[in-house]
Symmetry: none
Subunit: 195 residues, 4 copies
Amino acid sequence: MTEHRSGPVRSAAAREAILAATARLLVDEGWDRLTIEGIARDAGVGKQTIYRWWPSKGALVAECLLDGRFFPVEPVVRDTGDLRRDLREWLTPVLHFLNSPTGRSLVNSLVAAATGEAGVGAHLSEAFGADRLLADRLRAAVGAGELPPDAPVDELGNAVLGLLIFEVLSKDEIDVTAFLRLVEYLLGPRRTSAG
Amino acid sequence: MTEHRSGPVRSAAAREAILAATARLLVDEGWDRLTIEGIARDAGVGKQTIYRWWPSKGALVAECLLDGRFFPVEPVVRDTGDLRRDLREWLTPVLHFLNSPTGRSLVNSLVAAATGEAGVGAHLSEAFGADRLLADRLRAAVGAGELPPDAPVDELGNAVLGLLIFEVLSKDEIDVTAFLRLVEYLLGPRRTSAG
Amino acid sequence: MTEHRSGPVRSAAAREAILAATARLLVDEGWDRLTIEGIARDAGVGKQTIYRWWPSKGALVAECLLDGRFFPVEPVVRDTGDLRRDLREWLTPVLHFLNSPTGRSLVNSLVAAATGEAGVGAHLSEAFGADRLLADRLRAAVGAGELPPDAPVDELGNAVLGLLIFEVLSKDEIDVTAFLRLVEYLLGPRRTSAG
Amino acid sequence: MTEHRSGPVRSAAAREAILAATARLLVDEGWDRLTIEGIARDAGVGKQTIYRWWPSKGALVAECLLDGRFFPVEPVVRDTGDLRRDLREWLTPVLHFLNSPTGRSLVNSLVAAATGEAGVGAHLSEAFGADRLLADRLRAAVGAGELPPDAPVDELGNAVLGLLIFEVLSKDEIDVTAFLRLVEYLLGPRRTSAG
DNA sequence: AGTTAAACGAGACGGTACGTCTCGTCTTCGT
DNA sequence: ACGAAGACGAGACGTACCGTCTCGTTTAACT
């Protein structure tokens, strides 16, 4: 039996405006210049409408992440049968994006959000697409014998993502070539499916 | 030839009190509850004395990092001739520390600091000791033939560190066993020095 | 037609607390130790609530003046038909008040406020009651023939007030007798209503 | 001839620079934007040099007053035998000066200084020249029979000065004509020396 | 169609912290 | 010994947001 009561219902327009404003401001201003007041202003919404539905700005960002409002992620990692090549081709544009001001700013902001809000961290992996896309491709590689059967595919995906984040945090610019070489090393020695 | 001018000189006592307060408060309260006013209060110092010497709270944290005020880091990664065992023995207490509330809080705070301040990120690696300790041990392993000659030892150290950080950010608790297994996988297949 | 908008309305309690604190602190501490922070603290109010409604501490003092929060002014200058006697009787307690620490402090504070804020000066005259009380009595004296028909009654009131202020500023103590004698001289030679 | 001395002695140059800076800044910026730091900066002097010789900024202003650094006062009130005319001629330029921005600012600043510093008030009268110049002329008028023998000449001077100050504080602009008329009224009915 | 109660925009409120300014005291050099 | 320079602890400045709390208006489900 459903609870029911009279009165208006949650405004979809307000929700959309708030999340859109959050995403825009997070990218443009960064995590710590992202404020509830700013979001309310930008969304043309009362502050209370935000506090009514989200407990914190971290929760707003987490919802933006789930909505995929940040990365127009490459939907798949192609499978041409050559794992190293496929990864290289998927990673290259990602690395270049992360070297752009927008990319760096976005990663910094999302990581900052994650440090203050466990809920954001939990979705970081999905947000970057690493969990499904990367792991799927690695799993296929295991099936094809390109990786040993005991390869921890899920963890490997996270390792690549963690490395990516660490590079953004600690360096001015990621050296794309070196990064690709490292990933290749991490995957271990090349095997043929016949191997 | 040094620039010199008359007048009083920077107070070492104030510097020490400020950095000590910063380190204490960052661990106890976390990055975004760390405030200049709080530091000044805790250090018994005027706010201006902080602003005179440091441009931001990130810079304060960066200096604490360089001073090694956060981790009483294990001074070396032992070298028994067995890289995997040595790493396991070094990593185990580190992982347990990172699973403790203090450890998690510290990593979260430092990463948060790094996202807002390029200078902090640049020192994250040193702070965790990964740069020197880990890389040194890996380099020795290359010399001993435990790792192939082309192993990118510096990047490998950062990869482990990045993975560590990512796990803290995205999970409630690091699975120590799984983490060690992953590291072992990343190092590639075991080789004998005779190999 | 009045402008109206939705939303909360100005808090009368806050206004009262702020003005009361302002009046108390001005008398107790003096103009330049009167601070917005002190008022906010004393009134149990956020600073922004003060800044929202008053542009400066001078404006606060001006509003206190208009509210008559400083002098429990003698409501009238009595009219017994003898102008000189009536003035003497009204002025005597006023002069004694101005010789008291509270009185001196208050005049000093109000004058200081007036120098920094035109709005305060404009109300000084009303605040001391000189404008209405004194001028009314003088006007009656003109009607009764005690003063010549061309006597500038409003200006005369201000002259007495100006003199009063000047004495407080420039002397340690007003000589009551000399002051009364001077006022009497300024009014000009005694006239009978029969002229 | 060069300054030479063994062992430094109070620097006349510093004193001069400090007082000059004080006078300049008081006129230009007003009492409450006059700061010790600003004076030191402007005078090219260490703050301590100021604190060593003067206890407060009020004392600095008082010394400037005594030095006559503010008004290039009309050196005398002329005596043509006609008190009212002489006063009118002396007061007219004074009133116009007080209506100028510089004049108003100066009076406001000096009065503000006087409210915070008894020592300044004590010299206000001399500073405006009222004490000597005005009183002298009034005394002469008594001698000439233009004023009654019991006229309180010193107090009359202060009364005019107090009125002047009050007008500056409480009005946007002094009405010169009305002011002169008032002064004339205060002096009492015209008398001839033969009278 | 009218009633009714929650969601809405707006924004006032008591607070905390910001980064800057000046206070008056205190070193430290150089003359 | 004095003067310039300026670091220091202290604390107010005016601004920005916090999260909570009214307000009046709008709107949708239930009479």
